[in-house]
Symmetry: C2
Subunit: 135 residues, 2 copies
């Protein structure tokens, strides 16, 4: 968001950001209501990224209102978590390189096997402007 500072994730919680936990993505539906579902994600030390198809609601939500929360819970210790808030930037992924990278991280496979024919993929990047941690 213009004028907002980037927020940093404390080193105490980098293990969660580097884990293979899923990230819970909260976006705003057509009437401004909260919606929330899990995705595969990566964190490069600054941005959180995840893949999405163009035919699903979360993508349409973010085109309408890019505000987003990304919450990742430590599977081993569920009271430990990181919540980031910020705005989402969307880029096309025409060669599906990013979804393949996520398949590699989460399943070990070189290519994501569940693409539907003609499916269009995007990469969604979130720069945190607010970070909460617990535990």
């Amino acid at each position: 968001m213009a004028g907002e500072q980037k927020a940093t994730i404390p080193a105490t919680h980098h293990d969660i950001m580097g884990s293979t936990a899923v990230a819970l993505i909260s976006t705003l539906g057509p009437h401004g209501e909260p919606q929330c579902s899990p995705v595969w994600f990566e964190w490069d030390g600054q941005l959180v990224r995840f893949s999405h198809t163009k035919d699903r609601q979360k993508y349409r939500n973010l085109l309408r209102d890019p505000r987003i929360a990304v919450t990742i819970v430590d599977p081993a210790t569920p009271y430990r978590y990181v919540e980031l808030r910020g705005t989402a930037a969307i880029e096309d992924d025409p060669r599906k390189l990013f979804i393949d990278k996520m398949a590699k991280k989460y399943t070990g496979q070189d290519h994501y096997p569940d693409s539907a024919p003609g499916e269009e993929r995007v990469v969604i990047s979130v720069t945190p402007t607010h970070v909460n941690t617990m535990g």
Copy 2:
């Protein structure tokens, strides 16, 4: 929400609703932005309930705008999940019976050990008006 039908959770996903997974609670912040953090929950076959203190943001969010999403991911199979959306009803829990019940479910202890002195507890109940399941 007035006029909205109750939604039911399919039997295929009752195992998740009865599990000791945490529930991810998405609410709306002061500017209508999404916020999301995990809680202990119970499901009685109709309502989802969780405990909260009066001094934290999620409680203030729900007083301002009761719209909520509750997402529970199967810890063993993270592509399986249930997302419920609805509105939250709030009741006081002066004897802290409900937080003790949650402590029993999640830790086996009869009483929740981490209450701060003077802390006021509420029980938040969500009647689902919309249900998504995956997996």
